[in-house]
Symmetry: C2
Subunit: 229 residues, 2 copies
């Protein structure tokens, strides 16, 4: 490692330290307001937006919800998500490959929905950089689409190690792509022993009730905390 590289490591550590402070402030804000903040991560094209479209259409009548969505470019995803009838704030990151806690702080200030209960944060499609950035979320959800192959948890361990929940998505395509479910689940369990695993398809709706139950249980935890505070 030469001088410039050593320097980069030091500067990056300083920025990550600052991010942790801002993430703690976000977390405290979410806690005080009784909001469940959910950081959703995956490769490009694993179905984050499709899952959130469907989830918001199904749940927004029960719980006030909103979305913050990160992309390098375009506000296509925010426009898609607004069709579910919820507020969606787009964060455009330029060449930055992840959201960070400061971006979330600013996006939260732009939200006009009051008394939010569910705040989904759709991160930039990337299995590497977003793993290092705590946003202050209560729940980190990592998607693995059956179309991506069974080996991804082994090849991108950091993000899978950080997951509270791994969602195996697009299961309606499992047969078409020759998905080896046993191997995939075994790889997830090896890398993410801490995580719950659910399998679903946003297109057919298969598996969505278990995902909604999971969110409801976590919301109940947030409510109890607020009442007890």
């Amino acid at each position: 490692m030469d001088e410039a590289e050593r320097h980069l490591v030091v500067v990056n550590q300083r920025l990550l330290g600052k991010n942790e402070q801002l993430a703690a402030a976000n977390r405290e804000h979410f806690r005080r307001h009784g909001m469940l903040a959910i950081n959703v991560l995956s490769s490009p094209g694993s179905g984050k937006t499709a899952l959130l479209e469907r989830t918001l259409a199904d749940l927004a009548a029960r719980w006030p919800a909103a979305v913050i969505v990160g992309d390098l470019a375009t506000d296509n995803d925010a426009r898609r998500l607004r069709r579910s009838g919820v507020e969606a704030v787009q964060v455009t990151t330029g060449n930055v490959c992840h959201l960070d806690a400061a971006m979330i702080d600013q996006a939260v200030q732009r939200l006009s929905t009051k008394s939010l209960r569910l705040l989904f944060i759709e991160n930039v499609g990337n299995l590497v950089c977003p793993a290092s950035y705590n946003l202050g979320e209560a729940l980190r959800v990592v998607l693995l689409a059956v179309t991506e192959g069974e080996d991804k948890p082994l090849k991108y361990p950091k993000v899978f190690k950080s997951a509270d929940l791994v969602l195996v998505t697009k299961i309606d395509l499992a047969d078409a792509v020759g998905f080896d479910r046993i191997t995939a689940l075994s790889n997830i369990q090896t890398i993410s022993p801490q995580a719950k695993i659910l399998e679903l398809s946003a297109r057919t709706g298969q598996g969505l009730p278990a995902w909604y139950d999971f969110l409801e249980q976590r919301l109940a935890g947030v409510t109890a905390h607020v009442r007890g505070a």
Copy 2:
């Protein structure tokens, strides 16, 4: 932008400048040895390894070939690729989300195959970071799998802008996923007007002859250059 962030930009620019110097040295090495170096980029799970397995099995008898393959973790891909009978060198990047020119220089020194004509470089699965790192390649190929959605060129413009060739992969799954081919091709043409576009499936073999023809034409260019030197 605060002081630490400004600092990060300066350090990153210095590292990118150093990378450009090493990339130029790699490029000169490849040129002198009559090798066509091909940097292959995509999201995780777009089919880079499957395409290279098939390509090497089909072409290695005609042209001496080898692969350098980058991953955060595991040497699974190198092991898969060696089954095609070619030499494959695995570069494990840890938490670094891209290959760089220094990694390629070191990997090339580990190659024992003599008189190589084709050197494939399978980058880390990531549509953001690898775009910024010139490896000294003659050809940059970006994959877009039909399973990822038509909007990816718009959302990850930098990598698509840098492509010499965009390969639309997994076209055998186009119907199963409801792929909108016209929109996808239009999006690629908008962001990557400089790039040739080919559509193929490594599984069924559809479209592979045009990919092989493309490589052969580029190889002819390299040979002519060597003879003329």
